[in-house]
Structures are given as structure tokens and as C-alpha cells.
């Protein structure tokens, strides 16, 4: 016999103590998605300085890239993007019904791989900013 139950509001973050690995993956995917879509609008706005003049574009980018805080934010952006990509791949497999029984392990693997890629990328992302 079929049964139904009230799951409550889906994004009720007040229930965070009850979250399992899959729910945390879902929350992190949402959070990183919000950051990435926010960045998309910011990114296009900054690149739009190319509409003023070639010099305005080059000066804007090089000034921003000369700031340590921007480089650190870029490392954060990398972390967010890499996790969203890896967990996105995981979600595509889950949607196809592949590896469902290991969905929690693949979430932990996404986190670990994100951490490893970000740490390994720090020297490249900070190159030249200290003068």
C-alpha cells in the first residue's frame, strides 16, 4: 500500500542536524551554484570594460590582479567551481542511476579532490602578487 508523508519545506536549513551526506552535497551544490551565478554577472561586468577602450580593459584587469585579496578570492572561486564541477558529475551519474549505492562516498571523494586541486593550485593563483 502506498504511503505519503509530509517532508516539510525542502530547503529548511533549520533541520541541518538531520542532514546526511547526500543532503550536505545538495546544500553545498546550491551554495556553490549561487556563488558561481553571482560571479558570472560580476565577471561580465568587469570584462565589459573592454567596451570602453583596450587600455581601460587591460588596466582594470591588471589592477585587480595586483591585489592580494582578489587573488585569494580567485582561489575561493576555484574551490567553489571545482566542487560544483565534481559534484555535478556525481549528480549526472546519480540521475542516470549509476553508483547510487556509493553516492555518499562519491560526495566525500568530491570534497577531497576539490581540496587537493585547490591546494595544488595556490602557488599558480598567487604567482607574482608579492612583487
Amino acid at each position: 500500500m502506498s504511503q505519503s508523508y509530509n517532508r516539510g519545506l525542502i530547503e529548511d536549513f533549520g533541520r541541518w542536524r538531520e542532514f546526511s551526506a547526500g543532503m550536505w552535497a545538495w546544500v553545498f551544490h546550491k551554495f556553490t551554484g549561487w556563488v558561481l551565478v553571482g560571479y558570472l554577472f560580476t565577471h561580465i561586468a568587469v570584462l565589459s570594460t573592454a567596451l570602453q577602450s583596450p587600455d581601460a580593459y587591460t588596466t582594470t584587469i591588471q589592477t585587480l590582479e595586483g591585489l592580494l585579496v582578489v587573488r585569494i578570492l580567485e582561489v575561493g572561486l576555484l574551490a567553489v567551481a571545482v566542487f560544483h564541477i565534481l559534484n555535478g558529475l556525481r549528480l549526472l551519474f546519480v540521475d542516470l542511476g549509476v553508483g547510487l549505492e556509493s553516492q555518499d562516498k562519491s560526495f566525500y571523494a568530491s570534497l577531497l579532490l576539490t581540496g587537493a586541486i585547490v591546494v595544488a593550485s595556490v602557488p599558480t593563483f598567487l604567482a607574482g602578487v608579492f612583487g
Binding site: 530547503e11 546550491k30 561580465i44 573592454a50 583596450p54 593563483f125
Partner: protein, 123 residues
């Protein structure tokens, strides 16, 4: 009867497009990061370098497709997150309108910028 967990509208195709764009973006976003941070370095960026890439039709087309898919995927994701928060009725319609206008603005601005770099469509 099985519970229906999807936050997408029944019978709609936005869920499918969200996944098709996801599969494309997984590859192109990784390529974008790799090219512009590891092959080239962010602090070496000049207008001329961006122009050189954008004057290649393949790269130009890829970046336009990247802009379109990323905007759809991002804005559709935000819309679904808002629906998950319980948005209905007039507020849902308003969110749809605002997100639609925001998408149009970012796409138009992105295409204008790409055209400024390439000096027109690089055919």
C-alpha cells in the same frame, strides 16, 4: 504510487536542459579555468591577448555558447532554488520576470564584449 521528489514542473523539459547544459559546462568551465589560469596567467591578461583568442571563430563560438549555457544553467538553478523555498503565485511570476530580464542583460552585455574583442563576428 511513488513519491515525486523533483522540484521541476511535471511534463516540463527545463530539468533536461539543466542536465544537458551541466554536461557541457563541466567540460567548458574546466577548460576556461585551465586556459586562463594555468596556460596563461591572470596577471598577464591584456586586451590584445583576449582579442587574439576571440578572433578565432572556434573560440569565439565556444565562448558565446559558454555564456548562453552558463546563464541558462545558473538562472534556472536560482529559479528552482526559489521554488524550493516555497515561492508561488505572483512572487513566482515576478521572480521569473526579474531572472529573465537579468539573463537578457548579461547575455547582451557578454555578446557586445565578445564582439568588441573580436571586432565583429570572426567569419
Amino acid at each position: 504510487m511513488a513519491e515525486r521528489y523533483s522540484s521541476f514542473q511535471a511534463g516540463g523539459r527545463r530539468w533536461l536542459w539543466q542536465r544537458i547544459t551541466a554536461a557541457f559546462l563541466v567540460v567548458v568551465l574546466a577548460f576556461h579555468f585551465f586556459l586562463l589560469h594555468f596556460v596563461h596567467h591572470a596577471d598577464e591578461v591584456t586586451f590584445a591577448m583576449s582579442q587574439g583568442r576571440m578572433q578565432e571563430l572556434t573560440y569565439f563560438s565556444l565562448m558565446i555558447l559558454f555564456l548562453l549555457t552558463a546563464t541558462f544553467h545558473g538562472v534556472n538553478g536560482v529559479y528552482n532554488a526559489l521554488i524550493n523555498q516555497g515561492l508561488t503565485g505572483t512572487r513566482k511570476t515576478a521572480a521569473k520576470l526579474v531572472l529573465g530580464v537579468a539573463s537578457a542583460v548579461v547575455i547582451v552585455q557578454g555578446v557586445r564584449t565578445a564582439l568588441a574583442w573580436a571586432g565583429g563576428v570572426p567569419l
